[in-house]
């Protein structure tokens, strides 16, 4: 038997490819490509009208694509499309990060000027938006947001969880319809929720703009988020656990309240927090319902109430340099609250429920 061999020096041994992993060798090639592209980008930047950081970015992308095309041509590589595609995908991803970073950086950078201790303890009763930043604050807006969002959670969280219980535990004839409608409900424009509550509660019931109406408008928007997340959470409860409760003689009600719900408590809390994060920054429905009030108040029926989003909006509309600084300051507080809530929700849901 003859064995044909080829001297290894003449044969390029392909590295074993693990799917989705780049071969280690390609790092050097990639680095070379990047350096050449940067040089090309420099030329592009100098010769064309592109300017600023974005100009840099765009010329680098163009340079990168050009270099890769030339390289592939020189190496007679068959994988041109593959390389171009991976560059386009990565560039697409990187481009998306730019506005995110810009937004966060701007909010922090501009918002910090407005923040001092009094910002959290004063309201705007005796100060106007245009006064120096060491006067007045957003205590009324923070308290207002807490009250309005808290009230709306009291309404929306139980209803959302009940809807989820209906879909998963009862699983009756209407379960699919309820599921579909809650899904569709998550797309109700926020301004429509505001109009709806205005036309029902404000016009017919209370005859005034107040925090109660604002809370109901937010509840309309919060409910689908809570319902959908709770549904996902309840579905994770193993059937075995329910069966073993039934087999010990428990009714469905007992099984739900004593076995199913306690097992997924942290998941349901997560669902509620996500709902809160979803509505805490809503502006449009509050402009129509709870509106804005300069003074810290806890009266939810007889007067309008400030909230962080409407404060930001009001300060923005005043439009002077000082009021803009206030708007950024309040925006920083608002975004911190929302992000904090989302992070807490994710940390809670990251831990498997029922185990510690």
């Amino acid at each position: 038997m003859t064995v044909f061999t080829t001297p290894t020096s003449e044969l390029e041994i392909p590295e074993p490819r693990t799917p989705w992993r780049n071969p280690a060798k390609s790092f050097r090639t990639n680095a070379t490509t990047a350096v050449i592209s940067a040089v090309v980008a420099l030329l592009l930047y100098a010769l064309t009208g592109l300017d600023g950081v974005l100009g840099w970015y765009v010329s680098f992308v163009i340079g990168l694509l050009a270099v890769v095309l030339v390289q592939s041509y020189l190496q007679k590589s068959k994988n041109v499309t593959d390389r171009v595609a991976s560059i386009l995908v990565s560039v697409g991803f990187a481009s998306v990060l730019i506005p995110w970073i810009s937004l966060i950086a701007t909010v922090i950078n501009r918002g910090r000027h407005a923040i001092y201790v009094g910002f959290f303890t004063h309201d705007m009763l005796v100060n106007s938006m245009d006064e120096p930043l060491n006067l007045g604050g957003i205590s009324h807006a923070i308290v207002g947001t807490l009250i309005i969002v808290g009230l709306s959670t009291l309404v929306a969280a139980p209803l959302g969880i009940i809807s989820a219980i209906y879909i998963v535990e009862i699983n009756g004839k209407g379960a699919r319809a309820v599921r579909f409608l809650t899904q569709a409900m998550s797309g109700v424009p926020s301004i429509v929720a505001g109009l709806f509550i205005y036309s029902t509660i404000v016009i017919t019931l209370t005859h005034k703009n107040n925090a109660f109406a604002g809370a109901l408008a937010l509840a309309v928007l919060m409910l689908p988020t809570v319902a959908r997340t709770s549904e996902e959470v309840l579905k994770v409860v193993p059937r075995d656990l329910r069966d073993s409760s039934y087999a010990l003689g428990a009714t469905q009600m007992r099984t739900t309240f004593k076995v199913v719900l306690p097992t997924v408590r942290s998941g349901l809390i997560t669902a509620t927090i996500l709902g809160v994060a979803r509505v805490a920054g809503e502006t449009a429905p509050l402009l129509l319902t709870s509106q804005y009030f300069v003074r810290l108040t806890t009266n939810i029926f007889d007067s309008p109430m400030a909230s962080l989003p409407t404060y930001v909006f009001g300060a923005l509309r005043t439009g002077t340099e000082l009021s803009m600084a206030r708007a950024w300051g309040a925006a920083l507080v608002l975004i911190s609250i929302v992000v904090l809530l989302s992070v807490i929700a994710r940390l809670l849901s990251g831990r498997p429920s029922g185990r510690k």
Partner: protein, 326 residues
């Protein structure tokens, strides 16, 4: 003790008629009532907006949809009130379309990057960041869009107009590039990107691994495998996610209010400082509206509600179907 013969006949599943205790009947009744109440809100919204806006539909009929004029009656009675949402409807659709066209390619690349290109340790972090970005309030996008994005976007508008001005939609009657549908669409694109991405990514992640491996086994490149297996598989997920994004974009209020110049005129010149959408128009006019105009706003709200509801129904149906196949 004897054993029955093994049955040869197919045994069909039984439909159980369960008799339940009183406690459970009450429990199931209460839960059913709660769930029904939750979804009845959709019907109530429709009913109340129709009730409040009915007079407008009666007074203006179909011209409410075809007219672009939005004028309150003059105080001296010299001219009657006239309300029509044509310009705002067109504006909503134009802005939302720009947003979707800009967002989809980026959403696709983010979804593909996260699922197939990102290093494993980064993936989890990036997905959480995406969720965080999805929860940034629209008023904050608005203030950022107004102060940071707009100056840049005006520069891009000028470039577009300079090179592509011969195409009608890039024409600008008056060289003002501020607060245009293009700028609003760009901002909305950034706002709806997270939702499109997360739906698309979820469907992409369910692409059959064995087929992907098969593509590799036949010597395909990574892109080849994505093109032949992942993209066709995830098509309906992408479409569904895009529709959800479109629904969001159609209903966005505050961000559009801040970066779009409200003019009651049908306008397809996307770089011109003329536009508006139904949602931001409602927010603008609400504060100063008299009783009759308020009814018109309710009617406009109903139109917006039905439009977004239709889009969302379609989106949910498509997403559900793509999940079922997956």
């Amino acid at each position: 003790m004897k054993l029955l013969p093994v049955s040869d006949t197919e045994v069909s599943p039984r439909i159980l008629k369960v008799s339940r205790g009183t406690a459970d009947k009450v429990f199931r009744g209460v839960v059913l009532a709660g769930a029904m109440f939750s979804v009845a809100v959709l019907g109530l919204i429709c009913a109340f907006l129709l009730y409040r806006g009915f007079e407008i539909f009666k007074d203006f009929g179909f011209s409410f949809f075809t007219s672009s004029r939005w004028e309150a009656a003059a105080d001296d009675g010299s001219s009657p009130a006239h309300y029509g949402v044509a310009a705002m409807l067109v504006g909503s659709i134009v802005v939302a379309t720009i947003a979707v066209v800009l967002a989809v390619p980026f959403a696709m690349s983010v979804a593909l990057y996260l699922e197939y290109y990102a290093p494993q340790f980064l993936k989890r972090t990036l997905v959480s960041i995406l969720d965080l970005v999805a929860s940034i309030p629209s008023v904050i996008w608005g203030i950022w869009g107004y102060t940071i994005l707009m100056p840049h976007a005006m520069g891009w508008s000028k470039t577009l107009n300079h090179w592509l001005g011969w195409i009608p939609i890039f024409k600008v009657p008056v060289p003002i590039f501020e607060r245009s549908p293009f700028i609003a669409g760009t901002l909305l694109a950034m706002m709806i990107l997270p939702i499109i991405t997360s739906v698309t990514r979820e469907v992409y992640s369910q692409a059959p691994r064995d087929q992907v491996d098969a593509a590799y086994g036949l010597g395909s490149t990574k892109w080849g495998a994505i093109k032949t297996v992942v993209l066709p598989f995830g098509k309906s997920g992408l479409v569904g996610g895009t529709m959800l994004g479109l629904g969001r974009a159609l209903g966005e209020t505050i961000a559009v209010y801040l970066v779009l110049n409200l003019v009651f005129k049908v306008n397809f010149h996307i770089l011109a400082s003329v536009g508006g959408n139904v949602a931001s128009m409602i927010a603008t006019k609400f504060g100063e509206a008299g009783p009759y105009e308020l009814k018109a706003l309710m009617a406009a709200g109903l139109v917006l509600f039905l439009l977004t509801l239709g889009v969302n129904f379609l989106a949910s149906a498509i997403v559900n179907r793509s999940k079922k196949i997956a």
